[in-house]
Structure formats: structure tokens, C-alpha cells
Amino acid sequence: MIGQLAHRPDAAGAPRLPLPGHLDVWLVRRPRLDTAAGTLALDELSEPERRRTASFVRPADGVTYASAHIALRRLLGAYLGMPAADVPFVREPCPGCAGPHGRPAVRHPDPPLHFSLAHSHGMAVVAVSRAVLGVDVERLPRAETVEVCAAALHPGEQIELARLGAEERRLAFGRIWTRKEAYLKALGTGLSRDPARDYLGADPGRRPAGWALLDLASGPRHNAAVAVRGAPPERVAVRWLPPTATHLDGSVDLAAGGVTTRVSDWGA
């Protein structure tokens, strides 16, 4: 899987920024628990990231977090042409209060690329583009959870959910929520903005103007979605990051094969 353009995580090189109009999505799955501690490149994480890795009650969550952040550093290092451990992370100003807790970025102002990271129960998603974007992935919620939470959604979303049977409602809630959180992350507000305020339901024509929302194929147990500001991307590439890419001796290959599609092919 390591091709000619593979980027060693400790190496500097020429930046290979995504082209304007292109959206790169990388799916990451956590490694097995019994081998993760010996294989993951934990030394590339910052001290706060390592502390966070160790703080999770469930070891599986810690390994998911660590593999997601190693993958993020290595991917951004490859795009930016710098060692993974040196990728600078800053926070953009919050659009609500201007405090330093807005979108994560590699520079502010005028970052060379935009990225977003999400992880949930064994799976992580990294999205990279020249446009502002947000991504989310969530495990499929329980029916009981949907029952409790549906009233927090936009009225139009609630109506759509009420028409569905229990199993379909779980799937639909997961799709709505991941679109919503991806959108709110892209806005920079996160969940400080009321989840009932914006419609992210099944009708694309009613969704926020000026944004493209894409549902991602993410298997039977997760929902995932990306929100991109502006026109829909001309090209969307969705790829699994090979498990070895987060290993101590691994590297990422930005030219790896994957699924490349036009945005009109997506079911969002």
C-alpha cells in the first residue's frame, strides 16, 4: 500500500495540498487492542494527546482516539510537507464569542488547507479540502436514545422521523445527526448552536444554503457525513487508511487508490 508518493511521517517534503474543488476523505479504523500499544506511533502525539489517550475508561476508546490523531498528524504532515509531530494545531476564533475555541486549524488566518476529524467506536474520519468543512461519524444510536433525543431536532426533522418505523428511525436519526454535527463543526460553533435551529433532514433543498452535505458510506454500524462550504466539490475521494499507516514504521500515501466520485453520485 505504500506507493511512490508515500510520505514518511518524520520527513519534510514538498507540500501536496488538495486541489481547489477536491475533497479528500480518509476512513480510519482502530487496530486490535492486543497489538495497538506495540504498533501505534504514539511518540508522534503531543503530550496532551498522549494524556488524553490514557484517560479513556474503555481501552478501545483510547486506541480509537490515538489512531485517529496519529492518522490526522500523518495525513496533514503529508499534505503540508512536514513531519507529523510538527504539524501545528491552532484554534480559530469562536464565531459566537471570538474566544479561542472555534474550528481546529493548521494556521490562522489563511490556512493552506482545512481539515476536520471525528471518531466514534472504532472508526475515525479525516476530511481535507481547500474549503471550510466539518465531518462527523457516530455509531448507530439505540432506538431508546432516538426516542429521547428526537425532540431536540429541527421540527422538519422530527416530522420525517415520526413517519418511520423504529429501525428506519435509528438510521435516519444517525444520518440527520451526523450531517448536523458536521455542519455545526464547519460553522465553528459546534453544539453551542441549538440542534433544533437548522434543518439537515432528507430534503437537500431545505438544508442551509451555501453548503454541500454529503453522507459517507460507513458500514452497517456507523453514520458519517461531511459539510463543505460553498459549491459541491467537483471531486470527492474516499479512502480507507491502511492499518499500517498508523504504525511506528508506517507511512501514508496520498496517491492511494480509493473511491473517486462526483458529488452527484452521493446519496446525501
Binding site: 482502530r30 475508561v57 474503555r58 478501545a60 457516530e138 436514545t145 453544539l191 453551542s192 458500514g219 452497517p220
Partner: protein, 149 residues
Amino acid sequence: MDLTTKNWVFDDLDDLDDLDYEFARDHVAEPEPPDLAHLAACDPAERTRLIDAYVRGELARVLRVPPDTIDTVGRPMNSLGIGSINGLELQRRMEAVLRVDVNLNRLLRANSAAELIDCLAGQLGPGDSLHKHDGRGDHLVAHDVLGTP
């Protein structure tokens, strides 16, 4: 690894996440709602003890673990396993039982469950408590004017 959409390797997530996913096998417990009048009348230590027990119970329900395994002091909510969806569930359950407004964003960013418990204890004390917030401003927990009987 197969990289086509038709044969993406979702199936072999089974070996990694089966125990996480099978909700039916998880621990499920219904927490005992505290009496709001008693919470307002009792002394602060008793109020905190009762709210601690209730919040542990709600955390245990959404996380599907036994209440006595919840670490309320040493870990942020995310490290306990609280994400946006089960955080929303936790928020809505607590708001319905305790008749307060809980800020979801602040809940998800709380440094520990104890921070939430302390805020709830301040909010659910006597009516003239200096700790009470009226819903304006960016508080983790605020007085739910409309929801108060």
C-alpha cells in the same frame, strides 16, 4: 485491503467492536429520580450525595455500565464515553427529571462528572441560593423557568 464500495471491509469490524455494539448484552439500569422538594430542603452535603447518585445512574444508563464503575472526579465526560448523541440523551433525561436547563456544549466539555454534579447541586438548592442562574448566559446548568411547576 479492498477499496471498492461494494466490498469495503466493514464486516471485519465485528472482531473489534462486537462487545461494544450489542446493546442487548449491556448493563441497563433505571436510575431513581430524586425528589425535587427534598433536594431544595436538605443540607448541601445531602443534596450533593443525592444528585451524585442520580447522575451516576443516568451516566450508567447511557453508557451501559454499572453505576459504581463511573469515575466522577478524574476524567472529562468524553473520556467516560460520552459523545454528542449520548450526551444529548443525558442532557434531555436530566432536564426532564430535574427541571433545569443543561447546556449540551458545556456538558460535553465538562472536566468531570463532578463538575456537573456541583453545578446541579448549586442550582437545585433553596430558592434564594446565590448559586442559581436564570438561564441567561453560558452556564452549564441554569434555572428552567418554563419547566418549573
